[in-house]
């Protein structure tokens, strides 16, 4: 029987022709992924992996208050930014582990301004089974990492803020301890095979005993109940007062396009969020943003070990969704 075969080909050709004309509008296709049911009943949040637990806790309480449904997507900060810029997937609120990612990737096309709402510090996390765990101390950690047979995991500096922050800590440690070549030796002690895409990927490997130590954030180590070494504030990127001395360290990673490169200078670790210009439910997103900054919201974030700041900082253009000027320190127009 010849007819069905012919029909199949004909219909396929016809349909293929149809998609050919529509295929170019990739950017618009994913927009408004959260549009459902017309009303503002769904809140979609994209957040950095290290914010997954605190934001989840805040979302749960907020959802109960407002009677809305919430959806959360956690990924690396740079990957999250790419979801907006490349895939055209726009959430109601985006929260990242490095405030720097906003001006580099998202301002002004995707967001007008952003609010810095929490801080963190770099730590070296480990377990009871880690080699030489009993010898770990705030000022001798680097000697232990350099011992043969000790495996240290870190995340990819090209994909994850924690990855380049680890390397910045090594440079700061080299200066702080007066050990020339220490940064290079620490890099050699944590070879490429010990690298994973983002810091959350390292935890399983640490717990399985594949790594003895991993570079991570204090909030993560505490939330998961890992042991960790608290490094000197002079090198752990936690103290806003040390911003100038942190900036002496710099690391060059791949830029927004192949062949480009971007230099990240050492800076205090600051988390920030924003409501994208194309957010499907801006009013609901603004209420959630205000909730994150409220006393109740801060308490929830802190219960999940995230160090929420008392006075958030607004950067970039002040937008309608942002909390009032009296509650925030405004640095409008002073882009980093």
């Amino acid at each position: 029987m010849r007819a069905p075969g012919f029909t199949l080909t004909a219909i396929t050709a016809l349909l293929l022709g149809c998609t050919g004309s529509g295929g170019s509008e990739r950017g618009a296709a994913g927009q408004g992924s959260a549009e459902r049911g017309g009303g503002e009943r769904v809140l979609v949040v994209f957040n950095a992996g290290s914010l997954a637990r605190p934001i989840r806790a805040a979302l749960d309480t907020f959802a109960a208050h407002e009677g809305v449904r919430v959806e959360q997507e956690s990924a690396g900060s740079l990957e999250t930014a790419r979801k907006l810029t490349e895939l055209g997937k726009v959430p109601d609120l985006i929260a990242l582990a490095d405030a720097e990612v906003f001006p580099r990737y998202l301002v002004p096309a995707q967001v007008d301004g952003y609010v810095e709402f929490a801080q963190n510090r770099m730590v070296l996390a480990y377990t009871d089974r880690s080699r030489f765990a009993q010898e770990m101390a705030p000022d001798t950690w680097w000697r232990i990492l350099l011992r043969p047979g000790v495996e240290t995991g870190r995340s990819d500096p090209h994909l994850d803020p924690n990855g380049y922050r680890s390397m910045l800590v090594w440079q700061l440690a080299e200066q702080y301890y007066g050990e020339p070549g220490l940064a290079t030796r620490l890099e050699t002690a944590s070879p490429l095979r010990n690298v994973r895409p983002k810091e959350a990927d390292l935890i399983g490997l640490l717990q399985a005993g594949e790594f003895d130590y991993i570079w991570s954030y204090e909030s993560i180590a505490r939330a998961i109940g890992l042991r960790y070494v608290r490094l000197s504030p002079a090198i752990d990127l936690s103290s806003p007062d040390s911003a100038t001395s942190y900036a002496r360290a710099a690391i060059t990673v791949r830029g927004a396009r192949a062949g480009d490169s971007v230099t990240f200078r050492g800076a205090p670790i600051v988390y920030a969020f924003a409501v994208p210009r194309a957010a499907p439910h801006p009013a609901l997103a603004a209420r959630f943003g205000a909730f994150l900054l409220s006393a109740e919201g801060r308490a929830i974030l802190r219960r999940e070990w995230l160090d929420a700041v008392d006075v958030p900082v607004v950067r970039g253009m002040r937008a309608a969704w942002m909390p009032s000027a009296s509650d925030t320190m405004s640095l409008v127009g002073r882009m980093p």
Partner: protein, 283 residues
């Protein structure tokens, strides 16, 4: 016109009606089947056409000047081929056993062999990590003789083998089941040992099915991401590289990598399919 001839006329018309009715329904079904088939074909082909159409040329260009892409594709092909060979060696006896022998626990064994297909891939990666990590018995022993699995191509091969071997087992089992056991019986009565009967009779008869199953296994191995990225992120296989390019540079850099992978994977797939068709027409 008498009554009889009128009656004939009516019957003839009814017959004609019935026969046209009996032609319309199958035609309608044919059209519906063709439509359903076309929609699925479109669903499967359109993303690939779009991918290769927009980025295929760029992808081919990259093959020439992107060293990282070339070495990543080579690594992918080598690891997938190694995993497939290991899978064929290990899974063929299992598939034969499942197809030919009745034994207690056969259903359980078959289910266990299918299980890796159901496990989310990152979970498969974690399970393999627990088995092959340096703290485990297997991984520790391997490390003691200088074989590091996690973080090396061995980890890639392990992940590929785990997620793709079940496809070979089920395909090969079907292939063996299709071979009439009586042929083996005849070979045995003519004095062949069981091994010789298997080698001379069953294996050639099931050969095409086995080859097809190994192609499916290879293709599945090439496309794996979730389990590999847990075990071995560096060196990067093509799937990891395209994820990495997407995250650090965006779509414009990720698509050529994906297109190059799709085009390259097409080569061996087409080649092996052609090989099968040829051997079938020879028969």
């Amino acid at each position: 016109m008498d009554a009889l001839s009128v009656g004939h006329d009516v019957t003839r018309r009814q017959d004609a009606l019935r026969s046209s009715h009996s032609r319309v329904v199958p035609r309608l079904l044919s059209v519906l089947a063709a439509l359903a088939g076309s929609l699925l074909l479109l669903f499967l082909a359109a993303p690939l056409v779009e991918l290769v159409g927009t980025s295929g040329g760029e992808g081919l260009l990259r093959l020439g000047n992107d060293v990282e892409l070339r070495s990543s594709l080579l690594l992918t092909a080598l690891c997938a081929t190694t995993a497939t060979l290991l899978g064929v060696i290990g899974a063929t006896p299992l598939a034969y056993l499942l197809a030919r022998r009745e034994f207690p626990g056969r259903a359980v064994l078959a289910a266990v062999l299918d299980l890796p297909l159901l496990i989310p891939h990152p979970v498969a990666g974690i399970a393999l990590l627990l088995l092959l990590g340096r703290e485990s018995a297997v991984g520790g022993a391997a490390l003691a003789v200088g074989l590091r699995i996690v973080g090396t191509p061995l980890g890639i091969i392990a992940a590929m083998l785990f997620v793709s071997a079940p496809l070979f087992v089920s395909g090969a089992r079907e292939a063996f089941a299709k071979v009439d056991p009586r042929y083996e019986g005849v070979a045995r009565t003519l004095g062949d040992t069981p091994w010789r009967a298997f080698y001379r009779v069953t294996l050639p008869l099931a050969g095409r099915g086995l080859l097809a199953s190994s192609v499916v296994m290879w293709a599945r191995a090439v496309s794996e991401f979730g389990a590999i990225v847990i075990l071995t992120y560096n060196p990067k296989v093509a799937s990891v590289l395209s994820y990495d390019r997407f995250t650090s540079y965006g779509l414009s850099e990720a698509l050529p990598v994906a297109a190059a992978l799709a085009l390259l994977a097409l080569l061996p797939l087409t080649l092996l399919r052609a090989l099968r068709t040829e051997s079938r027409s020879e028969r």
